[in-house]
Symmetry: C3
Subunit: 350 residues, 3 copies
């Protein structure tokens, strides 16, 4: 019997099953530095201990998306090693902040199963939870993936689909304990646009583009200990549909978030991801641009110092975003779009 794990197939998942993932991960300043070098993130809260202390936090928390990728990375070996496609994310709430020295663990519960019409694959929904060494939740999200069946003749399970909220409710968002924006310095943050200044429907072109190199996306994905094969193996990819390595979709999310600094520098914390879809794959050599639209504005219970913006950020490849590419006249995604992300950020009020 082999000692290697070839990953789970669709038949291996059972509703209600809880998978405890391997390789707990202590997060460090080393991870933060690499995240900066790989994504170009410039948000002051994650860059400066002093800026964080001025807001009542003990030091600079780890970038929210770095936490997301680290938790996600734990789940891959058990959930998506045989995934054909990473279909989407939803119901993602960022919990207590993560600081250097914290150790993250993750587990996933199977909450949805549905065989596809071809009989060769199935869609698996999991709710994954990341916790720190004190058992506090740092992240909680649902994702669904299309997974190969080991044996296409295996019987289909009764289809179960989880109910998912359209977007996080303001009262579900987690604010870091002690957070107080009285000491917020917009010059150091890089923007004088506050919550009050954004309007629903407003669109923002983030202007810049950044070209992805193979070494960059491989290093990012390995930093997260995400072992999905499609990102690393050119020898095998040569015979695949795309003939090349595919960039981890989360890397695109991070690049888009980093680009969004220009226009959204005061969106100092990701509070939720309401829905996310990798519309098309990205490859080394692609240049990623991004634009955002304000989908909603929300007061937060008991807070006069900040509010929540619901945003759509769209990442696009090899094309500037002055005209906000999204869908064609036929309603289909513009062929340049690679990411459609609906999420909620915290922004200080004037």
């Amino acid at each position: 019997m082999t000692k290697t794990d070839a990953g789970r197939f669709f038949e291996d998942f059972r509703i209600g099953e809880v998978l405890r993932h391997a390789t707990p991960r202590t997060v460090t300043e080393g991870d933060r530095a690499l995240y900066t070098a790989l994504t170009g993130s410039r948000f002051a809260l994650h860059s400066s201990d002093e800026f964080a202390r001025a807001l009542g936090l003990p030091r600079a928390p780890i970038d929210d998306l770095l936490v997301f990728h680290l938790v996600f990375g734990r789940t891959v070996a058990d959930v998506s090693l045989n995934a054909v496609a990473n279909l989407g994310y939803a119901a993602c709430i960022f919990g207590v902040p993560v600081y250097p020295g914290d150790t993250l663990s993750a587990e996933s519960e199977v909450i949805g199963l549905r065989e596809t019409s071809s009989g060769k694959t199935g869609v698996v929904h999991v709710r994954s939870t990341g916790t720190n060494q004190r058992g506090e939740t740092v992240l909680d999200y649902v994702r669904w993936v299309m997974v190969n069946k080991r044996d296409s003749a295996a019987p289909a399970p009764a289809p179960i689909a989880p109910e998912l909220p359209e977007a996080a409710a303001p009262e579900d968002l987690v604010l870091p304990a002690g957070l107080d924006l009285a000491g917020y310095d917009p010059v150091l943050a890089g923007s004088d646009h506050f919550f009050d200044d954004y309007a629903v429907g407003e669109r923002i072109d983030h202007l810049d583009g950044v070209t992805i190199e193979e070494a960059e996306h491989q290093m990012a994905t390995r930093l997260y200990q995400n072992t999905a094969r499609v990102h690393f193996n050119l020898h095998a990819a040569k015979d695949s549909r795309f003939g090349r390595r595919i960039v981890y979709g989360g890397h695109i999310i991070s690049l888009a978030r980093a680009l969004s600094f220009n226009g959204l520098a005061n969106a100092f914390r990701l509070a939720a991801i309401n829905g996310g879809r990798h519309v098309a794959p990205s490859f080394a050599g692609d240049t990623i641009y991004a634009w955002s639209e304000v989908l909603g504005k929300f007061d937060l219970p008991g807070r006069t110092d900040l509010g929540a913006l619901r945003l759509r950020t769209v990442a696009v490849k090899d094309r500037a975003c002055a005209d906000f590419p999204y869908r064609g006249p036929d309603g289909k995604p513009d062929p340049a779009v690679v990411l459609d992300l609906d999420y909620t950020v915290l922004v200080p009020r004037r």
Copy 2:
């Protein structure tokens, strides 16, 4: 009105104006590790806490050029986003050492303005200052850039050019508090050549060459949170003069300094940059070599344990430096030269 910042144009600068730059930056061991991985620096003082303690310092200070790049990186969004060319540096003094955990902030004062004869661009001089969380100066330097005008019909300001010293005077150099070279171990430092052994006019071929990859210069430049567009965007660069991404000139300075270890391993601290010029752009695929010349030797007030060497280090691409390429018979730079750096280092005496 757009919320994105397209950068300042020549008309936007006013003499005497002080720009406080965004995104303060806590420096960490993660930054140091990346700097080592990206440049190959081997100077013992920056590599070993024990070596630093033997010299009276609390632990290994952050590499001087990493401090330079981090301070420089803060200034880009306000100073040089629309720069046509980064023309030069001068009057750069390294201040108190930076240690992991220190948080750096930067501001720049506009000290020179001169429209160019074309009327389409202007030269802006800024004095930029980096400070730590205690307000101590870690770096102070002047740079000048050629910046596009928004409107070529805009009137030219009265030309003002700052006076710049030819080189830092010995009494202007900042020695780290507590520094005592009695415990200096030349074997661990990697060289038995002391201050006493260098002669003015002496030239040193640093022998090795190192080839630059796109991922490397992009990661370095992002680590510094330097967002100048020309370094990252292949899609836009395709239509530019060079058709490719340009390597951040500071990366070349760091590579040249790392190469200079072979011959200058005891130049344990950069004390000043007297003048620097990126003679030609560098691109991924270029192999950088370097050589140095001793321009001057200086005693330091009250110190018998160390002296200062004024050096010229020349970086060259795709060509070894046994013959010290610099200028052709016509006085023009040798076409292989990419960097001409005049700086001052501290070196122990016997």
Copy 3:
């Protein structure tokens, strides 16, 4: 007289000579993060402080191979700058664990010299020792390299070859002080295969492959401050035998060890390298696969909680390992094999 060091030639080595190497190195969380990003290592002990504490250690030790590369890196400038080939390793024992903040120094004793029949090169054996800031040994190993002679007419020294053990004896292995596997969690470690479950002669295909990029191997090798020229200089390599930069062999060892997680996740510590050979060079663009064979099983004196496995791990390029490629019918290495590593790991018992 030049101040640069062109490296030692065969004539420069003397039996019994001890070389103290330059640039002591403080190891940090930054190094760990980069090692993860560059190799994809997922072993829980090196990833999680909490996992390490559950085993009686103060925090997560630095990955054993990262320690190896850092010690090795120190030795290059004095031992192998003019090496034609890195012929092998043996008698390598990992000593006390290394933790972030420890500072490593290295020295090498020349223990073997033999001129080759061509008269143009010689084989040098050195025993290299890495120590921490308390003088404790963290690593001790023998390697031998083929080094150019400066002058082929120089007389050959009397040939001296060190005696080398075939493999480390169980009683020679160093167990971390305080190590107690009672708290070992195989789910977090990623495998339910214990010492008891492995059989001598068993072979394991590690399944995955990972493609090497130039930026990755250069960054890894620079992180280790290993300055061997063949890894960095494309301009010079163009005229060499291979026409390209050669990947540092240690990077292949690290990739193979990281791949071996799939099948050997409980091999939580490298205790010894009995012998290692880089069978063929690797280059950027190669996809590395690996498989392992269990060569031996050993009880450890006084321990019922763990045992030692002697393993052979073979790294292969551009070819999956389902059929365990090793030697052809002629006894020669399979042309795809790049690494043949014989080493000893610690594994918990049930």
